[in-house]
């Protein structure tokens, strides 16, 4: 049963083959059995889940249900959940109980989904390996000696190990796609502005975007349907009608134009991953697609621009953690300055402090033009590169990450080496474009993800493209041996 997809579970619930209470019990038992090995959950909300499952069963029997009614899911611990600890993976918020729900959480509640708990993550979503979490690293279910990726590593590991059927993630520079690739699942980072950021603890506001993580594109479509849509409370939310993301899943791909950016296949890419991507692209050709090489000439500047924009916005957003209104406060502060600096010095981990310091530096007097403004100009150039590309092709494909999951400690001492793990994903955040990662095979017994990039608001097309591949391949059904 736990190997079923959300779509399959949903059909079972609608036809009353089993109840939401039974499903909830099954997955809570799996969490109980496996979470210790994985450390995917920070908080399990069993009581709340029972209550929501009971309500969902009532809705299911009265016929007032949605595709997600009664489906157990889990939230990345960056989404505020009323009455439940919302830690963001940080000591700073270890004692924080959110007084309200994020819009995304509220929307899952409205359709009657069941929340099993809050998932582990890199502290304040700053990391690519989950090693920066205050609650300890999440383990990759395919090999517990390797990282699950980050920052949505708890979400990816939980879905891959079948202890939840679907989870939310957030993606500022690759935090949905890279862990999806490392754990062999399907993840979608939507167009900036499609999913509300309200109640999603802010890291870099012009880049952050929530999205679904599940085993299949079909499941991601169901989850995105609930998550997407205009929200007055998010000032950058885009006001446009939400389409039916499942409606076009079955469209054929004949005539699909795929672009392969030469910059995605250069130095630094594991050759085995390059081979698997080319094999997946060949499968698309069999489905009727055509392929052409394209160029995104400013790709090489996306990581440098990102490591100005993201830390700058982070230093501004994280100024709110002052030890006064909520969050961690140091012991016996001798004056107000001591209270601020020690609360923040003790409450934040090393990577978060590094980024706040870089951000503070690049925004300090006299440096704004040289760093932040320059980076915003490079964003424009990167975005223009994509615009040109999308005049010629429908989707762009390439690797999600240059390597498979690496070992704990392998990159944690070298910030730049860690940053380069997201080299193919961050350009999309800078441009605001949507992208997916889907499993396309294995290298060194670890999953490999392929990234599919689309034009603004082309989520339906991306999901369709991913779904058609998943109809003719079975990489997305492979489960790590320990968790079958």
């Amino acid at each position: 049963m736990h190997n079923k997809t959300i779509a399959e579970l949903s059909r079972g619930l609608q036809q009353r083959h089993f109840s939401s209470l039974e499903l909830t019990e099954l997955f809570l038992n799996r969490i109980e059995e496996h979470n210790e090995k994985l450390n995917a959950f920070i908080t399990v909300t069993a009581e709340l889940a029972w209550e929501q499952a009971k309500q969902a069963d009532l809705r299911l029997s009265s016929g007032q249900s949605n595709a997600l009614t009664g489906i157990p899911i889990a939230q990345k611990d960056i989404f505020c959940t009323q009455g439940v600890r919302t830690s963001c993976g940080s000591k700073m918020l270890d004692n924080f109980t959110s007084p309200y729900n994020a819009t995304v959480v509220e929307r899952f509640n409205q359709v009657g989904a069941v929340m099993l708990g809050k998932l582990n993550m890199d502290e304040f979503a700053m990391g690519s390996s989950n090693e920066t979490s205050y609650y300890g690293p999440v383990k990759n279910p395919w090999d517990v000696g390797t990282v699950p990726g980050g920052s949505s590593g708890g979400s990816a590991a939980a879905v891959a190990s079948r202890i939840v059927p679907g989870a939310t993630g957030t993606d500022t520079g690759g935090s949905i796609r890279q862990p999806a690739a490392f754990c062999g699942i399907t993840g979608l980072k939507p167009t900036y502005g499609l999913v509300s950021r309200w109640g999603m603890i802010a890291f870099a506001s012009s880049l952050d975007q929530g999205g679904p993580m599940a085993r299949t594109a079909e499941d991601c479509a169901l989850m995105l349907q609930t998550m997407a849509g205009f929200d007055e409370k998010d000032s950058t939310s885009v006001n446009r009608p939400v389409e039916d993301f499942s409606a076009t899943l079955n469209e054929r791909l004949a005539g699909l134009k795929i672009g392969l950016p030469k910059e995605f296949f250069g130095e630094g890419l594991d050759p085995e991953i390059a081979t698997l991507i080319h094999e997946a692209v060949a499968d698309y050709v069999k489905l009727g697609a055509t392929v052409k090489e394209i160029s995104l000439p400013n790709m090489n500047l996306s990581a440098p621009a990102y490591y100005v924009v993201a830390p700058a916005e982070c230093s501004s957003n994280l100024a709110r953690f002052d030890g006064v209104r909520y969050g961690y406060r140091c012991q016996n502060p001798k004056d107000l300055h001591d209270l601020y600096t020690r609360s923040r010095g003790e409450g934040f981990g090393a990577e978060v402090k590094r980024r706040i310091l870089i951000g503070t530096y690049v925004l300090s007097a006299g440096y704004y033009d040289a760093y932040y403004l320059k980076a915003q100009k490079i964003r424009r150039l990167i975005s223009d590169d994509f615009k040109r590309a999308f005049q010629e092709v429908d989707v762009i494909m390439g690797p999600t990450s240059p390597s498979v999951a690496f070992r704990f400690g392998e990159k944690s001492a070298d910030p730049i080496a860690m940053y380069l793990s997201d080299i193919y994903t961050i350009a999309l955040n800078l441009a605001g474009l949507p992208g997916m990662s889907i499993p396309v095979g294995f290298s060194k017994n670890l999953p490999v993800g392929m990234q599919i990039i689309g034009n603004y608001f082309s989520e339906s097309r991306l999901l369709n493209v991913a779904h058609q591949y998943q109809l003719v391949t079975d990489w997305h059904h492979k489960a790590p041996a320990q968790f079958v």
Binding site: N95, F96, T97, P99, Y192, G193, S206, S235, T236, V238, N300, L301, A303, P304, A305, Y307, V308, D322, G323, V324, R325, Y326, Y328, R329, P333, K334, D335, L336, D338, Y340, T341, R342, R344, G345, E346, K353, R354, I356, L357, I358, T360, Y361, S364, A370, Y371, L373, K374, A375, Q376, K377, I378, R379, R380, L381, S383, P415, I416, Y419, G432, Y456
Partner: protein, 95 residues
């Protein structure tokens, strides 16, 4: 780009982050490395490029100046480290 320990101390003061003295050197090293990395940007002439703030170049929405939220001070202060009579307590600022 190499940051001195003095500069790191200044940034840490601006960002209100206490750093142990024995870690300043390591931060100086890491931060200098990151600044070297982002320095690649300067190779490109961007004098005629318009900076990008929102992918759809969307402007900030405005709303009517009306009260939309209830006062929930007590609820919000449940999370505060120290409160008294509805006020947030901090160490004495004025002697």
């Amino acid at each position: 780009m190499s940051l001195s320990t003095k500069e790191v101390n200044k940034i840490a003061w601006l960002g209100r982050i206490a750093i142990d003295d024995d870690k300043i050197e390591a931060y100086a090293h890491d931060l200098s490395g990151i600044l070297d990395f982002v320095e690649q940007m300067s190779a490109l002439d961007t004098s005629s490029v318009l900076p990008m703030a929102h992918p759809m170049d969307q402007a900030q929405r405005l709303r009517a100046d009306q009260v939309t939220e209830d006062n929930q001070r007590e609820l919000f202060q449940d999370n505060a480290p120290s409160v008294e009579a509805g006020l947030f307590l901090v160490p004495k600022v004025i002697e």
